[in-house]
């Protein structure tokens, strides 16, 4: 465990001494801010419109959770699909290219410690990234009265989604010594998991249900609605555990190839 934390600390530091952390965080917050601003502008436009039309029913249906937070979280999740591969692409690929892989593999570390360290380092970074977007609901809570529980569930969903993404990124990074291949293959897998439920409606009941269950978005949407269902938590847990397990196998394979 101590070794895993040592590696995690090194990973986290290497994000912040290189420009990657700043570029990724700036880009993420810039896009997030743009989404937030526009969603909020649209929301206040609706409020003014409905009150001018004296339509109290429609006005009652307007709320910050459905009209600002939920679409914001969905937009951020799309940005994560693109940015997480960039965060994780170095993790193993860069070590292999720079020759430091030899240092790690010939040190008295277990493969599990190496993978756990890489995972925790990236996890800390993602936590910072998602945590910084928490400023948007804070602004809403200051000026309005959104439902805090739903927001918390949605952000938990975003964090779990990002964690699942990053374990898939670690896996693809462990296959190659080329960072671009690692990033692109991660991006393809993430996009595929994102859109895999599209044909669900027309695919027949069994296959449709399977596709829906496999899709990351379906589970994420539930949490954005404020529903924390065991089914969704189990899903995210399984994706994370499976990807980490496969990463561990993939890294270990040099020892028995």
């Amino acid at each position: 465990m101590r070794n895993a934390l040592t590696i995690a600390a090194k990973e986290l530091r290497s994000y912040f001494v290189s420009p990657i952390a700043y570029v990724v965080l700036t880009g993420f917050l810039l896009l997030g801010g743009w989404f937030f601003f526009n969603l909020l502008a649209r929301f206040s436009l609706f409020v003014n419109l409905y009150s001018a039309m004296r339509n109290p029913d429609a006005q009652m249906r307007l709320n910050l959770n459905d009209f600002v937070i939920a679409p914001l979280l969905h937009n951020l999740s799309v940005v994560l699909v693109i940015l997480v591969p960039v965060i994780t692409m170095r993790s193993f690929a860069e070590e292999k290219r720079a020759g430091t892989y030899e240092l790690l593999m010939t040190s008295p570390l277990s493969i599990t410690e190496i993978v756990a360290g890489k995972f925790l380092g990236a996890l800390a970074f993602v936590l910072i990234m998602v945590g910084l977007t928490g400023v948007y609901p804070l602004i809403l809570m200051f000026y309005g009265n959104p439902e805090v529980g739903i927001i918390a569930a949605g952000f938990l969903g975003l964090f779990l989604l990002a964690t699942a993404f990053l374990t898939i990124g670690l896996l693809t990074s462990s296959f190659t010594e080329n960072q671009i291949i690692a990033a692109v293959s991660c991006l393809v897998v993430l996009l595929l998991l994102y859109v895999i439920s599209w044909p669900a409606e027309s695919a027949g009941p069994v296959l449709g249900a399977v596709l829906k269950y496999v899709s990351l978005t379906e589970h994420f949407s539930e949490m954005v609605k404020g529903v924390i269902d065991t089914k969704d938590l189990v899903y995210f847990g399984s994706v994370i555990a499976l990807a980490l397990f496969l990463t561990q196998r993939s890294v270990e394979s040099v020892r028995w190839r």
């Binding site: 240092l103 593999m105 010939t106 040190s107």
Partner: protein, 248 residues
């Protein structure tokens, strides 16, 4: 103490190292020679546990590299051909990191880092970023990294490559000092280095050991250069028959 027994390493159809055996005893510096592509680096990577052998065994300090890989890795210091450096870390933070993953307790870490900084002549560059250092300093950081946990076995893959003459002399002196109770395997192309440092010489050619003897015995009648050339020039005939085997 390093004991290599009938070691073979294949990469797919390519046999990089074929049934080699040799021993380096404690306190000995073993010069590991051979032309480029002979299998030196592969052998060292197997000894250090980076990659497994296809067959055969290696024992380091009495521990089998496959069964007790962890114990072996604790006792071995390894400088690969390209020093394994994180370009974005400072010299001190890099060495602290390596010390930690090599199992040095936090309380002793500062002393260990200071010791290798002094030994490898790095005291002026402690705060510099590794990626900005000159080749010579990088090589020394690589050596410092291999020494930080005070290993009983040192595996050095071309440690003096890219250094200027003064640095080469310093590193040689350092390696001689280090040998003491340690076992050192030194791979190199520079034959005078072997003549100055090593007690024992192993020459590998096309994946096979062609010579294993003490330096004194080998250089009784001719210079090390002549010995080296004579043993590796036997290669063409053998290699031809090997490649025929492979195609057949």
């Amino acid at each position: 103490m390093i004991e290599v027994r009938n070691l073979t390493k294949r990469f797919g159809d390519v046999v990089a190292v074929r049934d080699i055996s040799f021993t380096a005893s404690t306190g000995q510096i073993l010069g590991f020679l051979g032309p480029n592509g002979a299998g030196k680096t592969t052998t060292m990577r197997v000894i250090t546990g980076f990659m497994p052998a296809s067959s055969g065994t290696v024992k380091v300090a009495g521990y089998d590299i496959f069964d007790d890989s962890y114990e072996v890795r604790r006792r071995i210091g390894y400088l690969p051909e390209n020093p394994p450096l994180y370009g974005d870390m400072t010299v001190t933070s890099y060495l602290r990191f390596v010390g930690r993953i090599r199992g040095i307790a936090k309380a002793e870490l500062g002393d260990s880092v200071d010791r290798v900084l002094r030994k490898c002549g790095l005291t002026e560059v402690t705060g510099r970023v590794v990626g900005h250092l000159s080749k010579g300093f990088r090589q020394r950081v690589g050596l410092a990294q291999a020494l930080i946990h005070n290993p009983s076995v040192l595996v050095l893959d071309e440690p003096t490559i890219g250094l200027d003459p003064r640095q080469i002399i310093e590193i040689r002196t350092l390696i001689r000092e280090l040998s003491g109770e340690r076992t050192v395997i030194l791979s190199t192309h520079i034959l005078p280095e072997v003549s100055q440092l090593c007690e024992k010489v192993v020459i590998i050619n096309a994946g096979r050991i062609v010579v294993e003897d003490t330096l004194a015995n080998l250089t009784q009648q001719m210079s090390l250069e002549e010995v080296f050339l004579r043993f590796i020039s036997k290669e063409p005939a053998e290699e031809r028959s090997e490649s025929e085997e492979a195609t057949a």
